[in-house]
Subunit: 131 residues, 8 copies
C-alpha cells in the first residue's frame, strides 16, 4: 500500500522522476515508482492502475505524453502530469498533458518540473490529514 504512485512513460524520463523522488523522500508519505508506457504496455498499465490503492498519481511523460490522460481515464483519483522536454522544448508534452477533454482532468505542472509534481501531490495528501 502506497500513498503516491509515480509512473513514468519511459526509462528516459528517469532523471525528471528523480526530482520528484528527492522531494517525496523528505516527506512522511510512501510512494512507488513505475515505468509503464501507455502506448507500449497498455494492458499492464490498466492492470496496475486498477490494482493500485494509491491516493494520488504523478505521471511523467514526454512527446505525445498520453500517459497522464490514460491514467486519469482509468482512475477517479487526482492525477498530476509532468511534461518532459524530449522534443520542441517539451511544448508537445505540455499540450498533450494539459489539453484534456472535459471530464478527464489532469493537473499539469511545468516542463521537466518533477519537483512540483511531488509538491502538488504532498499538498493533496496533507489535505487528507487536515481537511
Amino acid at each position: 500500500m502506497v500513498d503516491i504512485s509515480m509512473i513514468m512513460g519511459s526509462e528516459s524520463d528517469r532523471s525528471i522522476a528523480n526530482r520528484a523522488v528527492a522531494v517525496l523522500e523528505k516527506s512522511k508519505y510512501t510512494y512507488e515508482v513505475m515505468v509503464i508506457s501507455a502506448h507500449r504496455n497498455p494492458d499492464e498499465l490498466d492492470s496496475y492502475i486498477s490494482d493500485s490503492d494509491a491516493k494520488v498519481f504523478i505521471t511523467i511523460a514526454g512527446l505525445s505524453a498520453a500517459l497522464p490522460g490514460v491514467v486519469a481515464s482509468r482512475t477517479k483519483k487526482p492525477v498530476i502530469g509532468v511534461p518532459v522536454s524530449a522534443k520542441l522544448g517539451g511544448l508537445d508534452a505540455l499540450l498533450s498533458i494539459a489539453q484534456m477533454p472535459p471530464g478527464v482532468p489532469v493537473g499539469s505542472v511545468g516542463i521537466d518540473n518533477g519537483a512540483n509534481g511531488a509538491y502538488l501531490a504532498l499538498r493533496i495528501l496533507d489535505l487528507i490529514e487536515n481537511p
Copy 2:
C-alpha cells in the same frame, strides 16, 4: 466486416469526419464511423478495436488527441490520425498525434484534413489489391 474503421474522439469532430466520409463514399471500400473517446470510454474503445476486422483505422481527435495513439497501441493495423483544431489552431492535436514513441506509429495528416485521412487509407487499401 469493413475495410476502414473511422473513429472520432467526440461528436464535435463530426464535421472533419464528414470530409473523410465524402472521399470514402466515392470509393469501392466499406467503412464504419464511430464516436468513442479514448479518455472517457477507454473500455469501449478497447473492446471495439479488438473486435474490429478493419484493415485500416482513421482516427480523428482534437486537443490532447490521445485517440490515435491508443488505437495504435491496441492494433497492429495501420493507424492514420487527423488532428482537429479545437484550440491553438490545432497545433496541440497535431503534436499529440505525430509525436508518438518509437514502436507505436501513427501517420498524421494535416490539421482538419479529414479528406487526406481518407485518401491515405485508400492508398493503403489499393495496395492490398495490387501489391
Copy 3:
C-alpha cells in the same frame, strides 16, 4: 465555510468560470466564486486567501495569469489553474500558469477548460472523504 474557492482574475473570465460552476452545481460540495486580480488587488487577494478555509482553490486567469501562482504562494492547499484564451489562443496563460518554480506548484488544466478545473477539484475532495 466552503469546500472550494474559485477565483477569477477579471470579470472577463466569467464565462470560463461558469463552466466550472456548472460542474460544481451537480456535486455535493460547497463553493464560492470571487473576482480578485492578483495584479490590481494584491492586498485584497492576500487577505482573502489567509481568511479562507477552502480546501481547494480553482484559479482562472488569462494573459500573464499570475493569479494561480500568487494563490499557491499564499496557501498550502492544492491550487488548480485554468488558463483563459485572451490572446495568442491562451498559450500565454497556459505557460504562465504551468511554468511555476519548484516549491510553489500549480496544476494547470487545459485552455478555457473550466469544467476540468472543477472535475480535478472534485477528485481531490472525494479523496478526503474516501482516502
Copy 4:
C-alpha cells in the same frame, strides 16, 4: 525489386534514416535507401519514383521538407514522412510534411522518429500479406 523505398532529402538526414534501417533490418522485407533532394534533383527524383516498384515510400527531410509531398504527388503508393530537426526543433519540417493539400496525402510520424517511419511501413506491408 524492393518492398520499401526510403528516400532522404540530404546526406545530413542519414542518422535519422539509420533509425529506420535498424527497424527494417529486423523485418523480412526488402528496402533500399536513396539520397535525392526534391529541390536540388527534381528530375532524378521523378525518374526514380516512376521507375520504382516499391510498395511503400518512407521519406525523410528537414527544413521546408518538400520531399514527402513531391513523392506523394508522383506515386499512388502510401507515403510516410519523417520530419528532421534541422532548425526550430523540427517544427518547420513537421508542418511542411503534415499540412498537405487534400488529395495528396502524406502520413507524418514524429520529429526525428525514423523508427516509427519504419514501423508504420511494416504495418502496411504486413497488411498486404494478411489483409
Copy 5:
C-alpha cells in the same frame, strides 16, 4: 511573353493573388496569373515553368506550400514566395517557403502579403532596366 509569372497553388489563394495584381496593374510590366498546384499538377507545373519566359516568378501558397520551392528548383530566375494563412495563421506556409535548402533560394515576403510579392518583383524588374 510576360515579365512576371504569378502562380498560386489553389483557387482559394485568389484573394491574396489579387493584392499582387492590384500592384502590378499600376506598373508598366506585363504579367500572367496561373493556378497550378505543385502537389496535384506537378507535370503541368513543370511544363509551364520550362515553357515560360517570365523574368520573375511570384508564387502564392498556403499550408505546406511546396509551390515556391518547386518553382525555384525548375527555373534559374528569381522566385518570390507569398505564404497564405490557411491554418496556424500562416506560420506553416511561411516556414515551408522560407526554410529552403542551400542552392534553391526563395525570397519570402510576409503572410498574406501579396502586395509585397508584387513590389519585390517590380524592384527586380526596375533593376533590369536601370542596372
Copy 6:
C-alpha cells in the same frame, strides 16, 4: 537610498543580472541587487518594495516570471522586466512579463537582455535630471 532596485527571482538568474550590473557600473547612478522570489518569498518581496525608495525597478525572472508583475502591482514606480530563458527559449517568461492586464504595466526588454534592462532604466533616470 538607491536610484535603481534590481530584483531577480532566483539565484539562477544571476548571470543575466550581471549583464545589467555591467551597464549600471559605468553610470553615475546607485543600485542594489536583490534575490527575492515572488512565489517563494511573497511577504519579503512586499516588505522590500514598500520600504524601497528606488526610482526604477529592474526585475529579472524566468519561467512563469511573476516577479515583474507583482512588483508593478506593489509600486507606482516604473518597472522593467527582463525575461530569462530557462525553458522554451524564454518565450514563457517573455509572455508572462509582457502580457500584463491594463493598469499594471511592465516594460519588457528582450530575452536574457539584462543590458537593455539597465539601459532603459538609465534613460528614465536621465530624464529625471533633464526633463
Copy 7:
C-alpha cells in the same frame, strides 16, 4: 511642447492607440498622436523625433514593428512599444519590439495593450515630478 509623443506605424493601429489616449485623457500630461511609418516614411520619422521635445515616446506597431526600435535609436528618451496583433496573434510584433540589441532598449507592453503603454508612460512622468 508635449510630455508624451505617441506614434503609430499605420492608420490601422488607431484603435489600439485610442486605448492609450483614453488613459492619457484622464491624466494631467499633454500628448500628441502621430501616424508615421518607420518603413514608409523614414525621413519624416527622423525629422519628427529630432524636433520633438517629448519626454517619453509611446510607439505602436504591428507585423515586423520596426517603429519602436527606430525611435529608440534616434532618441535618448525612454521608448515604450505596444505590439499590435495584425498577424499570428501579434507574436511577430511582440518579438520585433522586445528583442532589441543591447544599447537600444525598448520596453514592450502586452499585445494590443495600448492602455498599459499609457500607464507606463504616466509612471515615468510622475517620477519626474516626484523623483
Copy 8:
C-alpha cells in the same frame, strides 16, 4: 563600385555572412561586406545606403532584425534578408524580416541560410545580364 552589398547588423552575424561570401566568391560578381547596425548606427546606415551603387542588398540580422526593413525603406533596389538564430531558434528574426508592411518588400530566405541569400542575389544579377 560593387554588384552586391552585404550588410550584417552585428559582428556576431559574421559566421552566417561567411556562408554567403563562400557562394559569392565562386561567382563573377563583386561584393562588399559591411557591419552596420540599423539600431546603433542609423545615420551611418543611411549614408552608406544612399552612397551605395550596389544593385542588390543582402542583409543579415538576428533578434528584432530591423536592418533588412530599414535598408528596404532607404533604397529602391531589391533587398534580401537572412534571419540569424540568436534567440528562439531565429523565429524572432524570421518574423521581423518577412512581416514587412505593404510597399517596403524584403525577400527573406531561411534561418541562418546565408548561402541562399547569396544564391538569390546571383539569380537577380544573372537576370540583369540575360533579361
